[in-house]
Amino acid sequence: MSEEKPFTIEQFYKYISQGKLMGGKCKKCGTIYLPPRPVCTKCHSKDFEWIEIQPKGKLLTYTIIHVAPVQFQSMAPYAVGIIQLENGLKIPGIIKNVEHDKIKIGMELKVVFEKTPVNVSQWPQWPRYYFKPA
């Protein structure tokens, strides 16, 4: 059996570049972390395993960013939301492929992945994931 990859933010984004949404599950107390954490903040165990999270969820809240940071200016205005996945896990991200006035809290969204290889020499420049209508 191959050794588990380190439970780091960097490894989380390496999985993103492979099209996988991966969380860390504490083998001791069962808490799942997305993104993974090196030590369980509930029971302080370091014994984790990777689990793949279904890349779909429900929109909990959103905003339309009009005044954007420099590197996002060409996209503005763009929508950003927080989605709830299985096991109550939540992640934020940019919502694409839907007209802004059609975005509704509770709508089903899927996670899509930017499958560019991770270049660790440019740390922390990660590939991104986005949300699109399911």
Binding site: I9, Y13, P35, L60, T61, Y62, T63, I64, I65, H66, V67, A68, P69, V70, F72, M75, P77, Y78, V80, G81, I82, K90, I91, P92, G93, I94, H100, I105, P124, W126, R128
Partner: protein, 389 residues
């Protein structure tokens, strides 16, 4: 310790807030300190034994090591001088550490304060520096701006409780009115509801007038043991409660997007220590970095039930003439938000209110005041309760 004074404020100072062109942060802080010394002739600057100052970002002025820099430029060498950083709650934390330093018995008199110089940078630069108070790899990296985080809370609040964009704008109208009456406020200009509602969108549902200002400014307080206060002034203000708490750096991990747990916990600690309830508060300065933040603050502080913050502003309860005036200074919205200075600037306004020096903004017979200072998108909150002696 229930209801007993922790420390007394014997003097306070506030620089002009605004776009202070040509001035460094240290020079702005010197203006606040000068006022504190002028207000209290019985205080010899040499009585001050330690300095704690809030300052969020060294990026603005390319200047770190703020504690010593400010002691140096205000004639306070060679006392120990330490900077605290909890994002926009940096001087709320400085105040708290100042209180601890007196309670420890080590010092009799200390100065606490804060400073931020921001307007020398462009708006995109400031936006980026402020975003550093949020989670980088999961929020900033996915294009979420600082206003965007509060916009996520606003959308959730509107969806869950029916809070309206008009109610958000009413917070701006109220705070601009108060700022109009405050000669030190950055924006001394009234705004109409129509103008606020039709201003350009920053991060929907938040518009320009829902956002606080990019401002230069500094603030300070002089603290002493309660039993020594009368040696310095006839009108000291006691601090009777202090609370501080933390929360997840990313808002996405939180149970609720319509409340700040850190603020609720900090408030609970402060109320219990002070032995008062929300009903006892006569005047409050809350962290209105965005209008939605003031509405959430009403609920987190127990001024109304969860979900009723929108109605509280709509019914006029928090105006100068209302049952509980909030942000009489103009708040972060109109007085301005030089982030490191904000916590002790809030305390400065409460000091004026409880000593009857708030002029056109004076709340009649104010006895008990509260400050609510939030760091970033709620990962830190500090609450303090004050009483007229």
């Amino acid at each position: 310790m229930k209801g007993k004074p922790l420390v007394s404020i014997i003097s306070a100072g506030l620089s002009k807030f605004g776009k202070l062109e040509g001035l460094y942060g240290r020079e702005i802080f010197a203006e606040a300190v000068k006022e504190a010394f002028d207000r209290c002739p019985n205080l010899n600057p040499k009585d001050i034994q330690a300095l704690f100052v809030g300052h969020m970002g060294e990026s603005y002025e390319h200047q770190g090591h703020t504690g010593a820099t400010l002691a140096d430029w205000t004639g306070l060498l060679h006392i120990p001088a330490t900077r605290t950083e909890t994002a926009c709650a940096s001087s709320g934390a400085a105040l708290r550490i100042g209180i601890f330093s007196i309670l420890s018995g080590l010092y009799d008199v200390v100065m606490v304060g804060g400073v931020e110089k921001m307007t020398n940078r462009t708006t995109p630069e400031v936006t980026e520096f402020l975003a550093m108070a949020s989670d980088f790899p999961f929020e900033q990296w996915h294009g979420i701006t600082f206003p965007g985080l509060y916009a996520l809370m606003a959308t959730a609040h509107m969806h869950k409780y029916g809070t309206t964009e008009e109610q958000l704008a009413m917070v701006a109208v109220k705070n601009h009115h108060n700022g109009f009456l405050n000669p030190k406020a950055h924006m001394q200009k009234e705004v109409t509801l129509e103008k606020a509602l039709s201003s350009r969108v920053i991060a929907w549902p938040l518009k320009l007038y829902d956002c606080s200002l990019i401002t230069d400014g500094a603030s300070c307080l002089v603290l002493t043991k309660p039993e020594l206060a009368k040696k310095y002034t006839d009108t000291p203000v006691q601090i009777i409660g202090t609370g501080q708490a933390s929360d997840s750096i990313g808002i996405y991990e939180r149970e609720s997007f319509t409340s700040l747990i850190a603020a609720k916990l900090a408030a609970k600690q402060a109320y219990q220590m002070a032995d008062v309830t929300p009903k006892d508060i006569d005047v409050a300065e809350v962290h209105d970095c965005f209008t939605i933040a003031e509405i959430i603050a009403y609920e987190d502080l127990g001024f109304c039930k969860p979900g009723e913050g929108g109605r509280l502003i709509e019914n006029g309860e928090t105006t100068l003439e209302g049952s509980l005036p909030v942000n009489t200074s103009g708040g972060l919205k109109a007085k301005g938000h030089p982030v490191g200075a904000t916590g002790t600037a809030q305390a400065y306004e409460i000091y004026l209110q409880l000593t009857g020096q708030a002029e056109k903004r004076q709340v009649e017979n104010a006895e008990i005041g509260l400050t609510h200072n939030v760091g970033g998108s709620g990962a830190t909150a500090a609450v303090h309760i004050f009483r007229r002696e």
